[in-house]
Amino acid sequence: MAATSNSENGNGNGKYKVIGTRPIRHDGLDKVTGRAVYGIDQNLPGMLYGQTLRSPHPHARIRSIDTTKAEALEGVRAVVTADDFSPAGDDEVISLVEGVFRLTHMRSNILAKDKVLYQGHSVAAVAATNIHIAEEALRLIEVDYEILPYVEDVHEAMREDAPLLHDDLTTEDFGEDTGTKSNIASHTQFKIGDLEKGFGESDVIIEHEFKTASVHQGYIESHNATAEWKTDGQLTVWTSTQGAFGVQKQTAGILGIPVSKVKVVPMEIGGGFGGKIPVYLAPQAALLSKKSGRPVKIIMTRADVFKSTGPTPATYVKVKIGADKTGKFLAAEANFAFAAGAFPGSPVWAGAMCVFSCYSFPNALVDGYDVVLNKPRSAAYRAPGATPVILATETIVDEIAEKLGVDPIEIRLLNAAQEGVRRVDGVVYPVIGCRETLEQAKAHEHYRTPLNGPNQGRGIATGFWVNAGLKSSATAHVNEDGTVNLVEGSTDIGGSRASIAMQFAEVLGLPAEAINPSVGDTSSVGYTELTGGSRVTFATGWAAYEAAQEVKRKMMAKAAMYWEAPEEEVRFEDGIFLHATDADKKLSFKELAGHLKDLGGAVVGSGTVDPDYGSGGSFTTCMADVEVDPDTGKVTILRFTMIQDAGTAIHPSYVEGQMQGGSVQGIGWALNEEYFYSEGRMQNASFLDYRIPTCFDVPMVDTVIVEVPHPGHPFGVRGVGEASIAPPPAAIAIAIYNAVGVRLRELPMRPDRVLAACLEKLAASH
């Protein structure tokens, strides 16, 4: 196990030549000069501008939509509603990586059919010669709504007498349909051991309820799509997405056309964090293009991004943990409900997998419910489902440690998940790095440095994310100057071109700069799943590794041809092709590439993978120092350290970047991000009122990269994108308790809540 702090210089890890170094990313120049072309930057000749009309009501039946006035406005070229969809395949499901969705639900989220289910639900779209005319046209569309009762609280939505959103929704219970109409879309249950026995033997049992508000992924680039649907039936979509093939699958399904008729070109993407997996605009732009005969571009307004796209579910979580006198955990029980929004599909399964995954619990039971209500359909957000449940478990672990007088790191080490431990979902851990992150925390200077003021406190928490594998593809072409063009299928949101190219380069002994990586569209690269699930460096890097192996084999054959020697006499060592017996015969990769024109054609290598995955995951431990203002309740983060097991860090700077970004998103979730609802309507749909952390709100984020290599990956990569968001809210809640003695169990821990808790404590002490 190795550990690299970002205060160290860490350049190379001794084992590899390229992996572990910090080259300038290949797409960096274009991104610091403004040349990089993002989805919002796409412009085509004759392009029209689209905009979407959205429901002002949380729940209403659409009696009629009259678009005649809008269509008559000068400059308007097309207006579309749900009537423009083909009904083909209405009973089908589409399997995306973040879940499985009914096609009817996906269609009606793009353009509402009979009912609107949330404020912001789209009902019609317009294309015009400029954006201002499109916006004027929206005001001319007349929609006759019959207002229906709505439900916005997850517990109210679960009641039998709650207003039902869907008249065909019944509860699914692991493959079995209960047949009862309900807003509860599904129930997930995991069970291990004997819960009653475990709690019976416990010396201390602590149980609490927790709530978290919906938060938004908050990417800085709004959703966008540009579509051109030509008269030959071929549709091209340019968009900012976490996965071009996912957009292709969704768009084709929603429009009822074959995937071969849809080409998706992934543009540079301005953030995603899970929110750019679902499509919102591509089918609208496509229908508008078909009707107008022109390319159509839609950029969603920022207010609509908040009101209509993927927040996390608001959650209710109840956790109970029992331990013996030494702090050994004996039993755990969790019961939670996630507010999926208007359509089913919140990450209940993930919450259930993550809630107890950091520790060994011999006896445990988890029940989770996916509940629909009148809010936008929720979407994945970095380690979806993990953060709210980790908040609950870690806060209770801290309370048990306090009650027993055990050090908070020691109690975690005593119970830490490790190889051979069976998780509550039944699977058994392989080699993992949970314990190692805790040991690094214990050894860290941060943990030993005393706080130096009143109202200050330190909190520590551990988190987990499962990490995905899934399909990835890459194709490489060797150039005659010894460089290689590498086309891969993962859109690059945080430097993954570099981390993929570096794994390719490592195999061939080439410098990272000799690789020209690019992201292919759906017609130029093999099927590749989304950029998400912490999977890109793991799986697409692996595909690049396989492509490099094929290039290596083919280049060795070319060397044999060049030397007119049998292939088995060629070796490849340290980037040099060698003849087995004739020491004078050696060729660098570059030299051999220069001879390819005389050796019978180009060298192309490709790799596709679909690795097994699922139980290793990535662990994080973080430490937060806070100061609470006793007069206002405002919490200031004084210091923050994030420790994560990366398996192997390919490009340490971008590993640190993931850890720091996840940390600050976790800080925002903990302290000030929240959807405010009143009468079913979001009240803070702007970056002014929905306030993500600014650089003035946070300190530097120290990082420690732990490296416990993944035993299944050629370079030991685990994937680091998500687990860093899981523990910060818990660490901050614990730090607040250690600062001012109050336990907060609802996110965000905004000043009024902290102050109210402090005043309550003060009143109780008198």
Binding site: I24, I269, G657, V664, F687, T694, D697
Partner: protein
């Protein structure tokens, strides 16, 4: 639709003329009419800083400026930071420090940081954080951005580009 107005302005040291409607923002003109998509649109309501430009030496959100207000101004955009001789020190340091992930906020941060260094060549970390608080980044957690700006401040400024905004 209003009558179009003729505007004459200077962008990155070059005279530029365009026609615009009174309701169009400077950002819209850059992106939809001048083909200058380096300046990004993040919110269109002045809260994210992705569209930052420097107008007569002052940092502005171009989404909040009407295009007609550009008349006779001197504007610096992200496209004007690098010179044919090379990158601005801020751009170089952003690359070296891995200060960008998705990169959509990067042009705004670079322009904002340039405006800071133009008037305060040796800022403290606190001053950098205070100045850049109008620019949102959702990917990086800001650590590597702040380090890059502090590091760039130690490098001799590129006189050619700093002239463009200081006069």
């Amino acid at each position: 639709m209003g009558k179009k107005l003729y505007i004459n302005t200077t962008i990155n040291g070059e005279a530029v003329e365009f026609l615009c409607e009174p309701r169009q923002s400077l950002l819209e003109i850059f992106r939809d009419h001048l083909g200058m998509t380096g300046t990004k649109e993040g919110c269109n309501d002045g809260n994210c800083g992705a569209c930052n430009v420097i107008i007569d030496g002052v940092l502005m959100n171009s989404c909040l400026i009407f295009a007609v207000e550009a008349q006779d101004r001197k504007i610096v955009t992200i496209e004007g930071l690098a010179s044919p001789q090379g990158l601005h020190p801020l751009q170089q340091k952003f690359l070296e420090h891995a200060s960008l992930q998705c990169g959509i906020c990067t042009p705004g941060f670079l322009v904002a940081a340039k405006a800071l260094l133009d008037q305060n060549p040796d800022p403290t970390e606190h001053e950098v954080r205070h100045w850049l608080a109008g620019n949102l980044c959702r990917c990086t957690g800001y650590d590597k951005i702040v380090r890059a700006v502090l590091d760039a401040a130690n490098v001799a400024p590129n006189t050619e580009t700093s002239l463009q905004s200081s006069n």
